[in-house]
Structures are given as structure tokens and as C-alpha cells.
Symmetry: C2
Subunit: 97 residues, 2 copies
Amino acid sequence: MSAEVEEMLKRFSSVKNIIGILVVDNDGIVIKSTMDNSASIHYACHMQMLTEKCRQVIYDLDATNEFISIRMRTSYFEIMLMPHDNYFIVVLQNACD
Amino acid sequence: MSAEVEEMLKRFSSVKNIIGILVVDNDGIVIKSTMDNSASIHYACHMQMLTEKCRQVIYDLDATNEFISIRMRTSYFEIMLMPHDNYFIVVLQNACD
């Protein structure tokens, strides 16, 4: 998993307007982060809850369908949330451009 | 609100690959829908829960920030969720193209 995560972090780091990148395992433990420790823990916890809610909603609507990712717009930035088998990636990006 | 909703429905209807459009008030009551009754009620209920979760997560992370919209990718289609003051719009779109 480590090489795959490193590769993804490298890929996202080169994308314009990225504010932060976070890799979290399914227990909510931060594996990698470009944010400070407090922000990383806050985002990890909340994004894990959101991932679970999205999975549950999609499953309840159609048990054969599967949640892949979300992109959430907020007043300040966009949050992308991409779950994988054993971890999920959170990317914060400025919405401008 | 009605003219605004009609205008939005018209706008979304012309977008390519749209499977369904749903307008739901903040009590979870379906105002307008292009889907059948059962699907509309299911989506209204689940998307209302998801809207609340997104609002809560964004507020908890930063009380001055605000949730604007989400686009959720699933295996079968994409779901766009756009809350407004008194209602929210759900658009289901085939991911191809």
C-alpha cells in the first residue's frame, strides 16, 4: 500500500491549488498528511464519518451499487474524498480556477 | 420558489445523460420529481440525511464555512446534491461522457 499511497500523494501534490492531502486508514488513523497534526486528526475523524454515511446511503438505495468518491464544495474550498480498500484519501483544493 | 424551481428543472433537463431530477423541501417532502413515486421518496429521505451530515461535518470542521454542494460518484451513476434555503435539488446523471 505504501508505494501506491506515495505515488498518489505525488500525483495530487502537482495539482494546482491543493491546500492539503490526507491519507487515513479505515480505523481513522492518519497514515500521511500535508496538514498540521490537529487539522489532520479533525479531518480524518469527520471524513471517516462522511465516508461511512455515503456508503450506507448508496447501499440502502441499491445494494448492488457502490460508492466511489465525492467532491464537496464549501464556501472556502472543495473537498475530495476517495475511499480505497484499506484507506481513504482526502484532498482539499481551492475552488478558484 | 416555484418559478425558480421550474427554471432549474428546465435547465437540468437539457443536460446530457440526466437520469432523474428531484426537488425536496427541508421537511423531506418531494416538491417535484422526474422519477417514479417510490424512488423519489427513497432518494428524498436518504439525500436529506446526507445533506444534514455534510452540513454538520463542514460546520464542525469550521463554523464559519458553509456546505454548498456535493457530487458523488457511484458504480452506476453520479448524484449531485445542491441545497438551497428551503429545499434541495438532487440530480442523477450517467457518468459516461
